[in-house]
Symmetry: D2
Subunit: 135 residues, 4 copies
């Protein structure tokens, strides 16, 4: 249980996007930051870190993009659909790329399997917001 829905409902201005898609995407972004930061760190602690360099790199980037996306989607005042679209589209792309890389190591490293799941969920939530913004 996060506070994202309560915060959205308490906002003085009307939400530009369908609230359900927005709440899901905000939560997915912050969950994805955590997973990506933790996966990069877990990879660093593995004996075969040499095989995980690309995975660490993608997790670091994905964590950075997701925290920015989660923050921007949390703002409803003077909402600009064009900017939101650009940010969310980039986030979907980075999450997809990170998921693909983590999936390569999912059989050997449980943290990569979980992180890929978090990235795929965030990618899908971004696509939902993009559909809602286009409607």
């Amino acid at each position: 249980m996060t506070y994202a829905r309560q915060m959205l409902e308490a906002h003085p201005r009307r939400t530009a996007t369908e609230a359900g898609a927005l709440v899901e995407c905000i939560e997915a972004c912050f969950d994805c930051v955590q997973s990506c930061v933790a996966c990069a760190d877990a990879c660093l602690g593995e004996g075969d870190v040499d095989m995980l360099i690309r995975c660490i790199r993608f997790c670091l980037d994905c964590g950075d993009v997701c925290v920015t996306t989660g923050r921007i989607l949390s703002r409803q005042t003077e909402f600009d659909a064009g900017l939101a679209r650009a940010v969310v589209q980039t986030c979907a792309q980075v999450c997809g790329a990170c998921a693909e890389e983590c999936e390569r190591h999912a059989d050997h490293h449980e943290h990569c399997r979980v992180c890929a799941e978090a990235c795929r969920r965030c990618e899908a939530a971004c696509e939902e917001v993009l559909s809602a913004l286009a409607a």
Copy 2:
């Protein structure tokens, strides 16, 4: 449901702190980032924004400190208890100050009431981690 516990259990190295306190604190930190960013934004959208300047300022700072604390606690490789303590202590202090300010506006603005709750929960979770680190 976040992935924080799964990520922690999948980590190749042993956790330095009691896992329950750590997971709760990581989740509370990321929830608090979201609440603080959203509260600062909601305050900006209010008609009486002039009365909420200090609240906005504290929410911006608290959001920044919580995202850093959440990221640092998500890392277990080469964990340094002294650094963790300094970061978590600062986070508890900033959350306490932000909660106090938000509580002043809780009767007039529901988003301040919810944000104060998120800050108090994060402050308490930080105190738990500090106790665990001292043990």
Copy 3:
């Protein structure tokens, strides 16, 4: 004088992009974070804060996007041109929008004039990197 060029030259792997454009963009991104955070804060301290809500909102978003872009461009290991392009393109767009808004208040508020300058410089530096990545 920042350390960006020295860090790039000390990197064990060859840089994917022309170093000059990259260094300029990294420095412009971090300068823009600072200006945007400071401009949002200065706007909050103005007597006519009601007229500056959109400016504050855009500065907050722009600061978040620029810090992520500056971090991602600082990484050269397992560089992915497609991801870099998406991030830098979004950054250019957000900087352009923020500059446009700040320019509206540049005659009344010196901090908006300076911030618009920082945003335009970052927007141009992003365009240079995009050209270099396409080459």
Copy 4:
């Protein structure tokens, strides 16, 4: 040349701290973010990455703490000396620890030498701000 001094001089409220120390610290924080992110990445690209795990970990933490400190010090509206002190003190500690670790690898890796320099400069700038805040 950054915009930090211009932004500070354009602020509608009086600066709580001596401007020179503040500007130097803000610039040192953002330079340190860049160096730490780039050093963690350069370490990842080295053949002896196994020897650099602790260095990567400390650089990641230090980069996160410095970006938060740089952002918070960039805000002057409703400045709270107690919070600033806690944040800057933590930043000095993290920079000192990161510098110490980077210095261990400075003879073999130029990026560690440069990053240690950036961390030491930021640590010293934080100490200056702490003195100014105590005055």
